[in-house]
Every structure is written in C-alpha cells, then in structure tokens.
C-alpha cells in the first residue's frame, strides 16, 4: 500500500459530485437556512446597486459603450492579443499562452518550482477557479492560500464557492465562526480563543491569520479584471487590500487572465470603472484598484508573468449569438437579481459560474456533451431581469433560447425525441416575428375554446413537468401585439 501524502491545504469537495441542475435544485430548495441567507444578501445588494446606478445620469449610455467596446475586442481579438502581448513583453512581463486549464496549471507550477517556493498566496480569481489551480498545485506539493476573506471562508470550510463576488454568501456569521475556530489553527495562526460571531471580530481574526502568510510569501497568483492592449497595463479591482498585498509584496507574480479580458486603450477604463463597482457591490468605487505595467524597479514584484488562457473561450467566440457572453466583467449583478439563483443558490449550477451568466457561459465554454451542461440553459424562467441589470448589456434571454435550441439539436442528433421536436419548434417561433404571430393565432383560438377556464395538467411532455406544480390561466383571446396595435400604435402613446 502506498503511503497517502498529507494534504497541505484543506480538501475541497468536487463540482463533479453535484448532479445536473434539475436534480441539484431539489436538494438546494430543501436548505431553508441557505435560502434565508441568500434572500437577505441578494436583497441587500440589489437595493444598493439600484441606488448607485440611479446616481449616474448617463448610465444607459455607459452600458451601451461598454457593450460596444467589448464587442470590438471580441470581434478583433487576434489583433488585440498580439498587441497586448507585445506591450507586456516590452514592459518586462513574461507572457505565456495556455490552450486549457491543464496547460495553465503546468505553467504556474513550473514557475513555482523554478523559484523554489512551496506556497503561494492568491487573490480571488474566477480564472484560477475555473482551471482548479489550487488542486493542481496541491498535487505538486505547493500550497495555494486564498487571501480574500470570503474565499478563505470557503477554503477553510472545505466548501465550494456559491457566488462569483461573495463566494461565501450562503454562510452566516455563526457558521463562519465555527469554520474559523475549528480550522484556522491547522493551517496557521489560530483564531483567538473565544472569538465571537461578530463580523468585526471574525475579520480581525482573518487579518491576523493572513498577515503572516503575506509577509513571508515569495510568490503570488492573481487573475486580472482588465488588460489594456495598447499599453500592457493590468488592472485589478478589489476591496480588502489582500489584492494589493499579493500584487506588491512577493518577488514573483503570476496573473492568469482569460483572453477576453482585454480593453483597447487606457481611456476605455473610464467606462468600466464607472460601471463595475456600482453594478457589483453597489458602491461608487471599490476601496482599492491597482494598475501595473510591467516591472517597476524598486517597487513591487520584479518577476512578472501573465498567462493568457483560452480554456473554451474560443468556443464561445465561434458562435455569433453566444459570443456576447464574453462581454462579461464578472460583476455578479445578474446573480443578485435572478429569482432562480436567489432560491437555489450557486452550488446547484454545478460550476463556479452560477446564476444567469453561468447558465449561458458554462455550456458554451465546456460544450454540450455532459448532461449538467445541457441542463443549464433551462435554469432560468426567461424573466429577463438579468438583461436589464447587466452593465455590458448581455442579451441573456436571446442566448438562453438560442442555447436551448442547440441542446434540442444536440439531443435529436443523438436520438430524436418529441421534446427535441418541440424545442426545434420553439426555436423556429422565436427566430422570426412572423412565425411568432402565426403561432399566436393558434394560441388565441385555444384561448377562445378554454375561455374562463383553468387548464390542468397538459399533455405536452415538457410543459407537463412544469405544470405539475402550477395551474395556468387559459391563453388570452387577444395577443399582446394585437392589443398594442389597437391601444398604443396610431397616435396615443
């Protein structure tokens, strides 16, 4: 029997243990405490976001500009990537390219080994979560320490993140206290004896626990919010200062950044730095933003690396409808507004990108081969709240319908089903206004037939499941389009 090596960092569960969304939801809905925590948190942050967005007179123009800038980058990504690579190299950065997570992880581990380090400190980063960097480093005998408070709670709690901005949103203060009391001491400075569940005391415990690690660390790993193609400047937006610690103190810094994170020029930042903090934390500005352009002698890390990561992004880019998902700046506003997310939480989506953005990004990044990814485009009521809130105007409902269509096609290509036929039909209906109108004629006829009655369980396989829990009013006898024509067009507005 080979001896099992002791782990350096707390062992997390695996995303692979989570069943596809429709199954996972059943379990999530049973967690009353989590639902309460989520309702409180998303409700609070929604209200803050609205207040801060309302303060900005040209909010809608900003959103349009942001969408256009991001589309410009996506549609001309090869040029901007080459430009950014040159600017960064000229500034003293070693630029690496990684086709997938495995390749990126290999590069990070090799840099660590070349430097002779057996631990790294980390800034919260979606890209490194996506590639499971911590576990890859652990397997190489390198401990990766999360330094964002919420990520620390998740890491010490042997847990998975459930939100892209506040990964421990599903935990309340007494749970956090329990995690700190039982786990901190195993991996470094313990929490003070008798620490209470007061957020201030808990935060102070995290500060002390991490200060040690910051001061001795030789290497840090980060993501990146933006890379400016023109100058090679990297930008990281954060609150706690743990980012600044990682970006400033160690000798070596490796930033793993998705290839879509480019902006053409310095000036484009004005658009995104107005939109991002207000959309994400509902603040006018986040406490710290760091900009660095290569190596500055005598200040900060003297060995800088950037890994440009594909890992499925070119798949997303190849779909002219779906590629709008690459505009995402990870603000999390769509999660906070989503009625589905609020009830089921992040884990049910089975990946670190939960909520509406996860539902459109996951299946495009990873493809439709797995059942969990085919289920995600259905993890939405198509209410459209995410369309309205997204600072880069991602047309979620269009992309969701488009992806449902692709899932139906995928399924019928494997084995034709009734459900597939229906979804193909839905794709046809949604693809053209005339088609929609003709379907509405049929629906209106049904409305006349069933007028004033409630329709019970329906003989349609897909709707049947949904209707098990609901009654549906008979279809109206007039379509919205007809009503609009009569009441709104032709003069009176």
């Amino acid at each position: 029997m080979s001896p099992t090596r002791e782990r350096l960092t707390p062992e997390p569960p695996s995303w692979l243990g989570i069943p596809p969304f429709p199954e996972a939801v059943k379990e999530a809905l049973g967690k009353a405490e989590q639902r309460k925590n989520l309702r409180h948190a998303t409700g609070t942050i929604r209200a803050k976001r609205v207040a801060r967005a309302d303060e900005v007179d040209n909010w809608e123009e900003l959103r349009t500009a942001a969408a256009q800038i991001k589309d410009r980058v996506g549609r001309h990504l090869d040029d901007y990537l080459v430009q950014a690579e040159k600017a960064m190299t000229d500034a003293g950065v070693t630029v690496h390219w990684a086709r997938d997570g495995k390749e990126a992880n290999r590069i990070v581990a090799d840099i660590a080994k070349a430097k002779g380090v057996d631990e790294v400190v980390k800034i919260k980063s979606m890209a490194t979560q996506e590639i499971d960097l911590n576990e890859a480093l652990e397997a190489e005998g390198i401990a990766a320490w999360e330094t964002d408070l919420a990520e620390l709670i998740v890491q010490l709690g042997h847990d998975l993140p459930s939100h892209i901005l506040v990964p421990a949103i599903h935990r309340n203060r007494s749970e956090v206290r329990e995690i700190f009391r039982t786990e901190m001491g195993t991996y470094g400075t313990p929490a003070p004896a008798g620490v209470s569940d007061n957020p201030e005391e808990l935060t102070a415990a995290a500060r002390t626990h991490l200060r040690d690690k910051f001061l001795r660390s030789k290497m840090a790993v980060s993501g990146g919010n933006f890379i400016i193609a023109d100058t090679g400047t990297l930008v990281i937006v954060e609150s706690e200062g743990n980012g600044r610690m990682c970006l400033t103190l160690p000798e070596t810094l490796v930033s793993v950044v998705g290839i879509e994170k480019l902006l053409p020029t310095i000036e484009d930042l004005e658009v995104f730095l107005k939109l991002l903090p207000r959309s994400s934390t509902g603040e006018r500005m986040n406490p710290y933003t760091s900009f660095w352009t290569g190596v500055t002698p005598g200040d900060g890390p003297q060995d800088l690396h950037v890994i440009l990561l594909d890992n499925g992004r070119t798949n997303v880019l190849s779909d002219p409808v779906g590629r709008a998902a690459l505009r995402c700046i990870r603000c999390s506003a769509c999660l906070n507004i989503c009625p589905v997310y609020e009830r089921v939480g992040g884990h049910a989506y089975g990946s670190m990108y939960p909520g509406p953005i996860g539902a459109i990004l996951g299946p495009q990044l990873r493809g439709l081969e797995e059942e969990r990814d085919r289920a995600l485009p259905y993890a939405s009521t198509l209410c459209g709240a995410c369309n309205d809130v997204c600072p880069v105007r991602i047309p979620f409902t269009d992309i969701l319908v488009h992806l449902r269509h692709k899932v139906a096609e995928y399924k019928s290509s494997k084995h034709p089903t009734v459900e597939g036929g229906i979804m193909k039909g839905a794709g046809w209906v949604m693809s053209d206004g005339k088609h929609l109108a003709s379907v509405q004629v049929a629906s209106r006829a049904a409305g006349k037939l069933y007028r004033g009655k409630w329709i019970g369980p329906m003989p349609v396989p897909l709707a049947g499941r949904w209707l098990q829990a609901r009654d549906v009013e008979a279809p109206p006898t007039e379509t919205f389009r007809e009503w609009w024509k009569k009441n709104r067009e032709g003069g009176q507005k």
């Binding site: 256009q68 410009r72 001309h76 390219w97 100058t231 004005e270 006018r284 933003t289």
Partner: protein
C-alpha cells in the same frame, strides 16, 4: 503548433464572420471620452463622497498642512510614521516637533519594519470627486506601493487643483503616468469587506483608516 499559434488560429477561425478589418469601423463606440461632470462644487462633492466611506476629511490652507498632519497622527493614535521621499521638509519638521517617531524609506525599509510602523503620510496625484477616489501614481511624495499598504493608517494630502469631477477626467489626467509605465493605486476609503452577511467591516488588510487633508489653493 505552439499554444500561442494554436490559440490565435482558433480565434481567427472563430471570428471568420468578421469581415471589416478596422475595429473602429466594425464596431463604432458611441461615447465621448473624458467628459467632466457639471458639479457645482467639486471640492464639496469630494468631501461628501470620501466621508461616506467613513474616512476623515479636513480642509486647511497651505501653511497649515504640517500642523494638520500632526493632528491627524494624534487623531489616529499613531506614534510612528513613515515619510516617503519628496515630501516638503516643513512637514517632516512639524512631525518631529510633535514628538512622533519618524522613519524614512532610505535605505529601503523591510516589509517587517513597515508592518510595525503605525502610519504613512503621502501626497497624491489626482482625486475624483464623484466616486470619492484618490489616485496615487507613486511619484515623489507618494513612495513605493508597500509604503501605503503595510502601515495601518494613511494620511493623504490632496491639493485643490488635483481634484477633478469624475472618473473620466481622472483617467485622462492619469493616462500619461500609465503610459510611462508608472504603477497607479486608487483608494476609495480604507480597506473594507462585506463578506460576512454583507455587513460592511472597515479594515481588513490594507490601511484601516484613511485621513485626507485637503489643501485649498
């Protein structure tokens, strides 16, 4: 094929539908860059927004800055302070006269040394009123980045002529420093987190307290 070649090949085939080669013609951006906000009193706006982050703001004349720094250090219970190169000598003299321990970053202080110094005093590059943000470009008087990171309290001197209405104007002012590859740090209040039940806690890893001295022209 190298990863670089492979990714660029994938990108090009993914965007085969794009047939206009000039990005600006292909996707026009409807935005006027660098617009100021029509704020009636930019200084007052900055004060309001910075105070909203629970930072302290005081307004003084040029001659009063040294004394204001001493008041700030006392107000923040700081007994030791690091002063970056490039600060006016009168400020250092005032602090020494105030009986506080002064450290200079020459020769460079170690991280461990900086970690036990109570406070840092710096100048700034630009302040953006609408978001209450102060930008450092780490030029003279602002020190290298570690100086405004490890000490627990930061006293920052902002001149009235460095204040602009909003982020777009601020970016325009900072663009030359960024193009010259200077590191830039933005501060909006002190370090803070909202990770536990979304209740805001001031002070995690960066300086926990920010004290701004606004110098009227």
């Amino acid at each position: 094929m190298s990863a670089r070649e492979e990714i660029l090949r994938r990108v090009r085939s993914a965007t085969a539908d794009v047939n206009v080669s000039d990005p600006a013609l292909d996707v026009p951006v409807h935005w006027r860059y660098g617009q100021p906000l029509s704020t009636p009193d930019v200084l007052a706006d900055l004060v309001e927004k910075v105070e909203d982050y629970k930072a302290t703001v005081v307004r003084v004349s040029d001659a009063e800055v040294g004394a204001a720094i001493v008041t700030a250090l006392r107000g923040l219970d700081a007994a030791s302070v690091v002063l970056p190169d490039g600060l006016p000598d009168e400020w250092a003299d005032a602090v020494l006269d105030g009986g506080l321990a002064v450290h200079r970053d020459d020769p460079e202080l170690s991280h461990a040394e900086l970690n036990v110094i109570d406070a840092v005093v710096t100048t700034s590059a630009v302040a953006m009123a609408d978001s209450g943000t102060i930008a450092l470009d780490h030029g003279p008087g602002q020190g290298r980045r570690a100086l405004t990171l490890l000490p627990d309290r930061h006293i920052c001197v902002v001149r009235a002529d460095q204040i602009v209405s909003d982020v777009p104007e601020g970016i325009a002012r900072l663009a030359p420093a960024l193009r010259a590859r200077r590191p830039v740090t933005w501060l909006s209040g002190g370090s803070a987190t909202s990770d536990i039940e979304l209740s805001r806690v001031e002070g995690v890893h960066g300086p926990r307290r920010l004290w701004v001295i606004l110098v009227d022209a």
